[in-house]
């Protein structure tokens, strides 16, 4: 028999002295002021079963790539409507890279000729509107700006018909999502709109209609065993996608030079698959939404100013705090002073248990984010302390094929003080800069007690409603 001891070591010593094995919990006080809310939720009759349901719902989803369409068609996005990453944001509070991306988007849509002229447009706010990607069934990496003309991956849960969306990945360096808006950024985006989008539309449609839509979840399963953690490393996933799509791209009927350019672009962009991993994670997490009593996190997202989370038990409410600056490595001459606070919806990968949570499976990139291989193993193990379960599909070979830590529990974060570990890229603070580095970041700690307090409030309301006076 093994006794679990939580609290005074003295009591564990007394049991060990009787030749009995003791598993000692390394208990610490919870985040300040959370004791009462934690107890309320621990004793909430709905919580355990609701969390099991939420986790199972998330783990049960497989995401398929069913289409590639312009945002105007896929989302009904109108001229002047801009989507952005993270929780809701105004132009006034937007950071440099977010502004730069919006300016590039305005120029791409032809609202202005020169991106610099878009500043006045957004300041007046009359002909434009901002809305989170998350509110439109979409996720956007980094600034996450989506305009009507951008082509979108369309992912579907075939069992329910639910869909999620994400734009096409532009590559690294000076790109819109990192806040760059120079001529080369717009040239690339126009080529993606004119050539890449239509070629992918035809190829994805042809694959779908011949052998069935590509199973993105299955590619994620494989890439996690090939050294990708699907946030900062997507190399294997990208090449597997290309393997599945290239025959249909070749036979798409497009100009062979365009097809060759599209193949070259996708193959050379190690992050191309990120924009499929993200909506696949979102599709799975959406299945857990609106589970009354569940304390599971269903979204973590940053807009460059605020970091927000949503939980399964609190509907559409965002719990936000200031986004942090990542710690990691900088490109070229850039340093910490050049980095913008955390930005992007890509933390949806960590929310679903990959990215930083699956760091152990991606030793090849530990240096990119300023870590070591032992750090990576320890990080994944640590994330199991704050998650509800393991993903039976997504396993980590070096951890003896243990499933990835899945379903972040707000209660467990507040109890342990262990914050979700996110792998991320860093955008330059000044609009127009682009990427300056990559590293590791965590959410601001205070947003978890905020979410906890709301969950506990709802629990007390249910309790009051069910108690006869």
């Amino acid at each position: 028999m093994e006794v679990v001891n939580v609290g005074a070591d003295l009591l564990a010593d007394a049991v060990e002295a009787q030749a009995t094995v003791v598993s000692r919990v390394d208990w610490r006080p919870p985040m300040a002021g959370t004791e009462a809310d934690l107890a309320t939720l621990a004793l909430d009759p709905l919580r355990s079963e609701a969390n099991t349901r939420a986790l199972d719902a998330m783990l049960g989803v497989t995401a398929h790539l069913v289409d590639v369409l312009p945002a105007s068609e896929a989302l009904g996005l109108q001229r002047g409507e801009f989507l952005h990453a993270g929780p809701p944001l105004t132009w006034e509070r937007a950071s440099g890279p977010m502004r730069g991306a919006l300016m590039a988007g305005a120029a791409l849509e032809g609202l202005v000729d020169d991106p610099e002229d878009a500043v006045a447009l957004f300041e007046s706010g009359s002909a434009v509107s901002l809305e989170p990607c998350h509110h439109r069934g979409t996720v956007g990496p980094m600034a996450g700006v989506v305009t009507p003309g951008m082509w979108m991956f369309v992912l579907e849960d075939l069992a329910t018909g639910r869909r999620t969306h994400c734009s096409l990945n532009e590559g690294l360096g000076k790109v819109l999502r990192y806040g760059a808006y120079g001529p080369e950024v717009l040239t690339r985006l126009r080529w993606m709109g004119d050539v890449l989008g239509p070629v992918l539309h035809t190829a994805v449609g042809a694959v779908r209609d011949s052998v069935g839509p590509i199973d993105v979840t299955a590619i994620l399963t494989q890439m996690l065993q090939m050294g990708d953690e699907a946030h900062n490393r997507n190399r294997a996933g990208t090449l597997m996608l290309l393997r599945d799509l290239s025959p249909a791209m070749v036979t798409s009927g497009a100009d062979p030079r365009d097809v060759a350019e599209a193949l070259r672009f996708v193959g050379a962009n190690d992050h191309f698959f990120l924009n499929l991993a993200m909506p696949a994670c979102r599709l799975a997490l959406d299945a857990a939404r609106d589970t009354e009593g569940s304390t599971m996190v269903v979204a973590m997202a940053r807009n460059g100013t605020d970091f927000g989370i949503q939980t399964a038990g609190t509907g559409d409410a965002w719990f936000t705090g200031p986004a942090q600056v990542a710690e990691g490595l900088y490109l070229g001459e850039y340093g910490p002073d050049d980095a913008n606070p955390d930005i992007g919806d890509s933390a949806i990968t960590e929310t679903a248990g990959i990215g930083g949570f699956a760091m152990a499976t991606a030793p090849a990139i530990v240096r990119l984010v300023g870590g070591t291989v032992p750090d990576a193993l320890a990080t994944t193990r640590r994330m199991h302390e704050i998650t509800l379960g393991e993903n039976p599909r997504w396993s980590v070979p070096i951890l003896d094929f243990q499933g990835t830590p899945s379903g972040i529990d707000v209660s467990r974060v507040c109890r342990t003080g262990i914050l979700p570990q996110i792998n991320t890229g860093m955008a330059g603070r000044v609009a127009g800069t682009g990427q300056v580095g990559a590293g590791l970041v965590t959410p601001p700690a205070e947003i978890f007690p905020l979410a906890l307090a709301r969950l506990a409030e709802l629990s007390r309301q249910r309790q009051a409603a069910s108690t006869p006076r």
Binding site: A8, Q18, I418
Partner: protein
């Protein structure tokens, strides 16, 4: 706040260790060369008060999650050396598996520590406000739980026990000090031989008194299931008692079950009696209170039931003379039920008394139980000794797993310094890690009269204080 010839050093560290562990660290630090006073503690409200009483200034903005290292040194002491000693003492606390490269870090919650297939019990002794959270983890993992923590809100206790009842699990506690599970002692438990008696106890020290008396009479006990002092209240409704009775009834080795408790609430009594009557194993009630048999009488009733002879309960040593003019029995107890029992007996004898339970929730908030930390009792003992109204001092020393390793070491000198007679109950067995006989000998040598029966000790104290002779 240093005085001439001394200097103070106060630092705040972002670290955590439990109060018992820090007590050991503080003691180690106090023994270092050049240290006049040392306190290493988490900055809880209570500990900050203690530090301030010790003339240490705790920096503003220090939270209960911070550790304070406060030192008062002689002018020529080597601060670095002392800090090194403190660091070593703190480092020696960390016995968890290596947290180094790729190694397994210890689990941080009961939920994650309970994921193994093993279904052994969970012992919870975190601060009361956090105890229910860990206990729920245990129950959800399908494990029984012993809640040693006190200061757990009643509503949380009720909710926990309902969850347990729905799953056929047992919640022992809160404020459960003692359990023996098929011979394995949890919390404070005396080392006894296995035997036919099973105890269900709403009182930890009550159970220990019963255990040790039966041990003396040669009767073994394999099971003690604690249920917490409030289990038989109207609010809790005996939920844990019922489950404990069911468990012991199902144990083939148990031929008699003893239920030790205050009398249950009226609404619970009938229900529980009906439940106990329907069981295959006889259940003997040992309900404590005014006008009811005491624990020693309960032990004797068990012996009668088993057809065993009742031995004389030993008394060691003899006491000093009562000081002239003094008439009050002053009791300083670590065991709550033992204090309560002594109070009833002394009051029934018509003797003036002041008998304190130092393990009471109000006195233990933010600090260790007096069975672990003797500081509080030693302080109070000095005051009691100096009071001319003190006719006799009544104490308990509870031995067993988990309890202080050598209570007589500090208590005997204090006893020797008391002018009034001192009567002590030693609740222990010969096999207890502290060595009962050694403890008794050093208390006797210090001038105390030592009993194994607390009721006997209380009667003796009442007698010395000049009350009416006890008639049983």
């Amino acid at each position: 706040m240093s005085r001439p010839g001394e200097r103070t050093h106060v630092e705040v560290r972002p670290a955590y260790a439990d109060s018992v562990a820090l007590l050991q660290v503080s003691r180690t630090a106090q023994a270092l060369p050049g240290v006049l006073a040392a306190q290493v503690a988490m900055a809880t409200t209570l500990n900050v008060e203690v530090l301030e009483q010790m003339r240490f200034a705790v920096p503003a903005g220090t939270s209960p999650n911070d550790m304070v290292v406060a030192l008062r040194l002689t002018a020529d002491a080597d601060l670095d050396l002392v800090l090194h000693g403190v660091d070593e003492a703190l480092a020696s606390l960390r016995r968890s598996p290596a947290r180094t490269a790729g190694g397994l870090a210890p689990h941080r919650t009961t939920a994650t520590a309970s994921r193994s297939a093993d279904l052994g019990p969970v012992v919870v002794s975190v601060p009361g406000a956090s105890a229910a959270v860990e206990a729920v983890d245990a129950l959800e993992a399908g494990r029984d739980v012993m809640i040693f923590s006190d200061n757990v809100p009643l509503a949380q206790e009720v909710a926990l026990k309902r969850v347990a009842a729905a799953r056929g699990l047992l919640v022992m506690g809160p404020d459960c000090g003692t359990a023996v599970l098929d011979g394995l002692g949890l919390g404070f438990a005396n080392v006894v031989t296995p035997g036919p008696v099973g105890i269900v106890a709403a009182s930890g020290t009550g159970a220990q008194q019963l255990l040790t008396l039966l041990d003396h009479a040669g009767v073994g006990v394999s099971w003690v299931l604690g249920v917490g002092g409030r289990d038989l209240s109207e609010e809790v409704g005996g939920l844990a008692t019922r489950e404990a009775l069911r468990r012991l009834d199902a144990e083939p080795g148990v031929s008699l079950v003893v239920l030790v408790s205050k009398p249950p609430a009226a609404s619970v009594a009938a229900d529980l009696t009906a439940y106990a009557t329907a069981l295959g194993t006889p259940v003997q009630l040992a309900l404590l209170g005014p006008g009811r048999p005491d624990l020693t009488a309960a032990a004797e009733a068990v012996l009668h039931h088993l057809g065993r002879p009742v031995p004389p309960w030993p008394v060691h040593g003899s006491t000093r003379q009562r000081p002239a003019g003094a008439s009050t029995v002053r009791g300083l107890y670590a065991g709550g039920t033992l204090a309560q029992e002594a109070r009833l007996i002394v009051a029934a004898a018509g003797v003036a008394h002041e008998i304190l339970d130092l393990g009471d929730d109000d006195l233990t908030q933010g600090r260790a139980h007096p069975m672990i930390d003797p500081t509080l009792r030693l302080e109070r003992l000095r005051a009691v000794a100096a009071d001319p109204a003190t006719a006799v001092v009544l104490l308990d020393v509870v031995l067993g797993h988990g309890a202080e390793m050598d209570p007589a070491a500090l208590l005997a000198p204090a006893v020797a310094a008391i002018p009034a007679p001192v009567v002590v109950t030693v609740v222990g067995t010969a096999a207890d890690p502290q060595g009962r006989d050694r403890q008794v000998a050093s208390l006797v040598e210090a001038g105390a009269e030592v009993h194994v029966s607390n009721a006997g000790a209380a009667r003796r104290a009442a007698e010395i204080a000049g009350g009416a002779a006890w008639r049983s």
